[in-house]
Symmetry: C2
Subunit: 138 residues, 2 copies
């Protein structure tokens, strides 16, 4: 059903609308009940991190405007910044064509990465070498 839901939207006109409740009910979570959510800085365009939401984390994120994930390692909800104060406010959320990935444009306070770097993608592959780098803007 949910696969068909997104299939039907493929040919929708620009501006066509659905209710968010309906959309969320059709989101295609994986076998673990999770969907990957990419956080992108709405100002700089940097991709800051990728984490996972279950349906409850997704609803909490939409309701509160605070990015909330499901921690697979700790098996608990994880409201970004609840410990560090480095909150991530949701500005825009987009769902992809087949309903199994989220792109969240956010305002990030302080570093997004637990290593205190601005973002999590700081290991750059360069030919045969991987280099630790400061994450820069595009």
């Amino acid at each position: 059903m949910s696969k068909q839901y997104f299939k039907n939207l493929e040919t929708a006109e620009v501006g066509e609308q659905r209710s968010v409740d309906e959309l969320v009910d059709n989101i295609r979570f994986n076998e673990q009940g999770l969907i990957p959510a990419v956080s992108q800085d709405i100002v700089t365009g940097e991709v800051l991190m990728l984490a996972y939401m279950n349906i409850e984390a997704l609803k909490r994120t939409l309701d509160s405007g605070h990015m909330t994930f499901w921690s697979r390692s700790r098996q608990t909800y994880w409201r970004k910044g609840e410990a560090s104060g480095h909150v991530q406010n949701l500005i825009e959320m987009l769902v992809d064509c087949d309903g199994d990935a989220l792109l969240c444009k956010v305002e990030q306070s302080g570093p997004a990465c637990h290593t205190n770097r601005r973002g999590c993608f700081y290991l750059r592959v360069n030919g045969d070498t991987a280099i630790v780098e400061v994450m820069d803007s595009i």
Copy 2:
């Protein structure tokens, strides 16, 4: 071991290097042997799509410079653009802090989405409404 590998890199100095072979050997694929790979347009900063690589797809991508995924639905390798001609060339690859997500900065020929849209994230959540939109640049 691979978790510790990335833990050790957390405190690495900027500019510190590892071999890519070593990095790839330590990548933390999920229970299905997959890692999510985010494709970002290197020119516009748009997040174009999210798909999955297994270790062989990752190696093919690094060797060829052509983004190559593992299709979960078709259970086969999928070199982006092999059918459509809309190839995605890898310009930069970054690995995240815990080694379980990839950020790939790419040159995209034509639309990245199978719906012929520029990118896959075209369903925008706006309050209680989801809206079909043309994907725009940041």
